[in-house]
Structures are given as C-alpha cells and as structure tokens.
Amino acid sequence: MHEMSIAAAVVEQVDAAARDHGAPGVARVRLQVGELAGVVPQALDFCFELACAGTLVAGAVLQTESVAARARCTPCAVEWPVGMPPDLGCPSCAGGSVELLTGRELQILDVEWAERPGVQADQKG
C-alpha cells in the first residue's frame, strides 16, 4: 500500500506551502485523483490523517475529487470513457493513435488555510 507515501508527499507539500504563506494552519486540502492514478481514495484518507500529525496540516480535511479517464482516437475522431478495467483500444480502428485525455491526475488542486492550527473546514465543498 503506497498510499502512505502518497499522503506523506501531499502533507509535505502543503506544510511547506503553509509556511511559505505564513498560514497558521490548514483547514482543507483538495486533491484530484484520476481513475487510472493507481491510488485508492479511502486508503489515502486514512493515511492522510496519520501523515498530518505534528505538521501545520494536522486537522485538515482531505477532499478528493475523482477524474474519469477518457481517451480519443484522433484519426477516427472518436472519444470514449475508458472505464475500469480500462479499454484503451480505439473502438472503431486498430490503429495506434490513441491518446489518453484524462485519468492519470494526482495533484493538489488547492488549499484552504485555517485561522489557527488544527481547525477543520466544514465538510461541504
């Protein structure tokens, strides 16, 4: 389970950003996770809480937004949701010009600072 390493990387970056901004704490971290990123959001949530301990991120809510994977075959002008398990073959040709448009995202979108350490934002987005 590499979600602990992923969570530690998120916390490290957000903690550093909070220090750069002189923020006293972090209320919410919004994360974008693609369907093909190879990360399980529930496991990440659990690890995030552990990884936050002792940092400016402690107490923050992790809000995960999933991104569906979509692919396109440019010559055929066809676009499709790849699904899970993914189907990356063009449905109308056997050609090798398929592009993955979305689905590999694993990025911190934005961060909401807290007025003081350890204060959570409310859960609504």
Partner: protein, 273 residues
Amino acid sequence: MCRTVDLRQAVLARNDGSARELRAALAARGTVAVNLMSSPGSGKTALLEAELGLARRRGVPVAALTADLATENDALRLARSGALVKQVLTDGLCHLEAEMLAGHLADWLPDDTRLLFVENVGNLVCPASYDLGESLRVALASVTEGEDKPLKYPTAFGLANLVLVTKADLAAAAEFDEAAFRANVARVNPGVEVVLTSARRGQGVGVLLDRALAVLDGAAPHRPVMAADHAGSGHGHGHAHPHDHGHAHDHGHPHQDQDGERRDATAAVRESA
C-alpha cells in the same frame, strides 16, 4: 474569512523530478536503467539471472539491483551470473522511489556499466506509480497467474514499455490462454510487445537484454497510451513535464521543514467565505 490558494502541484512531483535527474545522470554516463515489476513469485529473478549471464558472456557490462522487504536470497541468486549485484532491503516499504535508488547507486555503480537492471519489490500495485529514472519499464507475469492479470493491474501493465510472460514451460499445465492474455494486454496498453519466456528452457532468454541494448543504442521504446503527459499525470518516460516542480533535495523526511525550497504556492490567491 478563509483564504484558498491554488497549488496545482503534482503529488509525485518530487519523485518525478528525482527520476528525471537520475535518468539524465545515467544517460550522461551511457547507462540505461531497466525497471522490472511483477507479482511476488512470478519468476523475475530466474529470468534476470539468465539475462545477466548472457550479458556477461557477450561482454556487456551489466549490474543489477534487487529490492525486497527482507532476505538477501535474490542477490545471492543473481550473483551466480557473475554480474555486479546489490540487494536493497526496503524494511517493509512496498516500492522503490527514485531518490532511494539514486542513493543506492552512488558509490556503487561502476562508471562503465551499460545496463542497470532494477528488480522492483514484488508487487504490481505500488511500484507502478513511481518513475525510477528508467528508460525501459518491463511488466512480467507468469503463465500460472491467469490471463486477466493485466486487467487486474492495469497501471503496471498499462505503463510498461515491454511485457514478458514467464514460466512458459508450464503453459500447458496451467492451461494458459495466450491469445486471451495478449488481448488483455492490448486493451490496457495497445501496441506493447509481449514476449513469452522460460528461464528453465531458455525460451525468449535474451529478448530483455536485446531490448535494453536497443534503448542504449538510442531506439525509442514503445510509448504506452497511459503514459501520456496530457492525461494529467506527472509521470512519463523521458519527456518534459511542464507541471512538475522537481527539486534535488533530501528525501524520506516528509515532515522536516523545507522552507524556501517550495515554490508555486504563490499563484492565484482567492478569497472564499
């Protein structure tokens, strides 16, 4: 009032940055790294032992680094080939990361090494997310594991530049459906080469070495659809990543203060209720 700041930072930016640096450093000295990933017990070590022996006989300077949670058994097996071998014990960590690898290579990898084979931790989930600075990524599955392995572990097989099937000598006994396996690989990674091997019988032995040597000679490896930069990923193999912010600094201390080394958090401060 709460302030929200857009970060837009790839979570694995640091690993990806380290991987890019390592790939460039290896390329500068004429070394190509090959990242091998598979389930535990798939036969990576047996195949690699055969490939290393062949490389030695052909006079190709090769080295292998093998990662396991515990025991030095794999290094002892690989060392029988006569190649330079290093065992890395991850103490329970399920995957290698680029900076860990770079640390293990420093003061160990001889300058004249042309091919470095990295046998990742036996695991098809976690290692798939971490670029190690390799130029050739190989996913392996044995005939006993089932034809649907590529569908169950789409990231590992979807990001591979080469897929090797091991233990082909057991294919009949395992009722391995080669056509189904190939179709499943093609579904997650259209166009990737799939080669059947048997270390025991020598079938397909040398293919891995040949493909690695081709990359060393400048051949472009197969480019998986899933490795596309524009799909929101910070990963990839040897391509520029405009959204990455990799920096060279210590790794493995996620909670230490690194004020001033981080950037990009200055973008677009907005107010929200």
